[in-house]
């Protein structure tokens, strides 16, 4: 009975994933309602909150790209908050503050390292804008990004809007090439059916816009977020999106709001990043299960399926891969997975080259390595995520133990 159930769940999960991609293609070209109503004349005041940790000069480039936004300068500001970087990030922040005087830039520095989510909440205390845009400090933003995000708030029930995250370094190596194709497919296809019902399950923290009153409503929940007493700062984007949905607001990805991030180019960093994401998925899944009746009443079935079956698929996938390895240990080395990956890789490479030349991948054959990565992902990430739910470690950035305290800290600018 148990194996049948496992297979059933896996098949359903794969089916939903497949259907989402196929529906994504169909809806993208046929369903006008997958696109939100945009009103570019709607120009609310915007605070761009940029928490930063050990980004070095990149933070300067990020502020520069935001400063060049095609949005009325008097209607937006940047609030940059350094989370006790061990490098010269804060100096670069201040330099940007000095160099880009066309907009209001405020900088601050935490007394102790306290994580992204709390830094965002703290930074928000200094904002009075109608729309809060949270960004990652290692991204570069398109000049129209803010305009594109705010235009979507013309829909009164729109709670959070995200942008498309592209890859800045697609051709560093095989690892970045694979991520480029996956990012592109995820935003351009996978999330389209979720856009249709305005119920995107996870808006990327790279570019995340939310109504101020909504964020204020959610803020106490974010601050109180913990796992058996351990404060959580990871997966704040997924959590915030989920909370937006539960409050009856819509969530949406506007693929015209562009930003580019530098994706990990080493296996170790990629592994840590994916582990952090997988932990967030697992936590979110448990949260969904815990509050399932609330979900059933409030959310669209499409959203519930995505929230339950997709992470369940990842959990069951582990068992299936284990079974497969026991039954046929060399199954992963067969030609079918590689050929399938190569086929998908070739198609995606062509699409990316045609529609987003900036992210064009030089070696489409690199996608064959995805077979190996998917094995690692299924076998190691899920059990590791399940067994390290108590970890508050960000993973991809070195943490200075002297500045890291497991306590909440105020936002401030002690150096100025």
């Amino acid at each position: 009975m148990a194996p049948i159930l496992l297979w059933l769940i896996l098949v359903l999960s794969l089916l939903i994933t497949l259907v989402k991609y196929v529906m994504g293609i169909i809806m993208r070209f046929s369903f006008r309602s997958t696109r939100a109503r945009k009103d570019y004349s709607y120009e609310p005041t915007v605070s761009v909150l940029m928490p930063c940790y050990n980004e070095g000069k990149t933070v300067y480039e990020t502020i520069e790209s935001i400063a060049k936004s095609n949005y009325p300068n008097h209607k937006f500001e940047i609030i940059a908050q350094d989370d006790c970087s061990a490098d010269d990030s804060y100096q670069w922040m201040q330099r940007a503050q000095h160099d880009f005087t066309n907009i209001r830039i405020r900088t601050g520095r935490n007394e102790v390292n306290s994580g992204k989510a709390r830094s965002v909440c703290n930074a928000m205390q200094h904002s009075t804008a109608e729309v809060i845009v949270s960004i990652d400090s290692d991204c570069i933003f398109h000049p129209d990004a803010i305009r594109e995000l705010t235009a979507c708030f013309a829909e009164p029930k729109m709670g959070s809007v995200g942008g498309r995250v592209g890859v800045r370094n697609p051709n560093d190596n095989v690892i970045t090439a694979i991520q480029t194709l996956i990012y592109y497919a995820a935003f351009q296809l996978y999330k389209i059916p979720e856009n249709w019902t305005r119920s995107v399950c996870c808006i990327s923290g790279c570019l995340f816009a939310i109504r101020r009153e909504l964020l204020l409503e959610i803020e106490p929940v974010i601050r109180a977020r913990n796992w058996f007493g351990i404060p959580l700062s990871q997966g704040e984007d997924r959590f915030l999106t989920h909370q937006t949905l539960l409050r009856g607001y819509g969530t949406y990805i506007n693929n015209d709001a562009l930003c580019w991030t530098t994706v990990p180019n080493t296996l170790s960093v990629l592994f840590k990043q994916q582990l952090r994401w997988r932990r967030s998925i697992v936590r979110d899944f448990f949260f969904t299960l815990k509050t399932l009746p609330q979900h059933v009443w409030k959310l669209h079935p499409n959203t519930i399926l995505a929230l339950v079956l997709v992470p369940l698929g990842a959990l069951v996938g582990l068992l299936v891969v284990l079974t497969a390895l026991t039954q046929d240990p060399l199954s992963w080395a067969g030609p079918l997975p590689v050929v399938t990956a190569l086929g998908i890789g070739a198609i995606l490479t062509w699409i990316v080259k045609r529609y987003s030349a900036r992210e064009a991948v030089a070696h489409p054959l690199a996608f064959a390595a995805y077979v190996g990565w998917s094995m690692v992902s299924s076998l190691f990430l899920t059990p590791l995520a399940l067994c390290t739910l108590d970890s508050a470690d960000w993973g991809t950035r070195a943490v200075d133990p002297q500045t890291t305290q497991p306590r909440e800290v105020p936002i401030g600018n002690p150096t100025r």
């Binding site: 300068n73 503050q97 005087t101 209001r104 351990i230 590791l384 936002i411 600018n413 002690p414």
Partner: protein, 372 residues
Amino acid sequence: MATPPVDTLAPEPKISAPARGGKLSAANKLQAVHYRLVLTLYRIFAIAVLYLVLIGIFAYAWIMGFYALNTSWAAPVILSASDEKSLDFREKLVTSQQTIEDLKVDTHKLETGLAEMREHRAALLTLAPQLRDAIAREKAHNTTAGPALAQLDRQKLADNAKTQKVLAQLKEVEAGINKDLAAGLITKGDAAQQLSALNQAQDAYTDSKIAEVLLTDSVLDKTTTGTNTLNVLEKQAELQSEVAQLDIAISVAEKQFYEESRQIDRLREAITTAKKSPYYLNASGGQTLYFAFVPYDNQAHAVVGSSIYDCYLNMILCRHVGTVKAIFAGEEQAIHPIFKTQVRGFMIQMTLDHAESAKSKTVFLGHKPVLF
């Protein structure tokens, strides 16, 4: 465009986490204890699971690497009495033996038939020269007798012609006798006597004519090919034909005999080979036999008499469990016990001191796979 002010953030009052500062309420204390307990249990569980995962990963990698490099493993195979292959083998063997028996009967019949045909042929062949000699003898006799008879026939004809002239004169003699009788010159008795003599002469002439005709026939027989001769020649031709037919029949029978004998030999060879198969041994033997599959890569270690080791976890803590008894020649295909791929190899028979080793996933030939 007016430049907006560039500013920095004013310091904020510290916000303390309520559960961490001040006095904890009883409920909070209880919750803290509950959390600590859950976290402790979770961490113990998580560490155990992660170590198990680590062990699993290393074990998997080790096993894969070990079996990729090892060249002495063999996979024990338990063949049951109702093993499909064995039963199939047995069925084929019985069929083959039955075919041999049928062929033996056939060849015996053929042998008997051949002997009879050869005897008959020999008899016919002995008859043929006798017939040929008789014909030759007759021919030689006719060659000499024919002209002589023809000469006699001609002489006879001349004699008969003369006799006919004499007989023509006898009619005058008969008329003279009748005249004499009528004249009373002679008595009736004398007349009858004289007339009887005349009739005898006529009768002798008729006999002579008959003899001449018969002689002409004899001459014809001796000097030309008559129906009798043709009959004899026909008999001779029939005899030769019968011999030729017998030759063909003997040749066909000999070929059939040869082919059937070869088929018997082939079947016997096949049965002899089959008797060396593990499946035959399994199907025919009453006792439990132990077999193992050896891939070709490990052929060098499969030597009759070499030791067999059975190991825990398929590679360590090995013990001597028996020896290789026989090596079977036929190719076998089996599923790799670890990689689950199709592997080509052959079967061996094992003598096992520990019967349970036949149930192991793998055993090792020649030596222990690792040092212990």
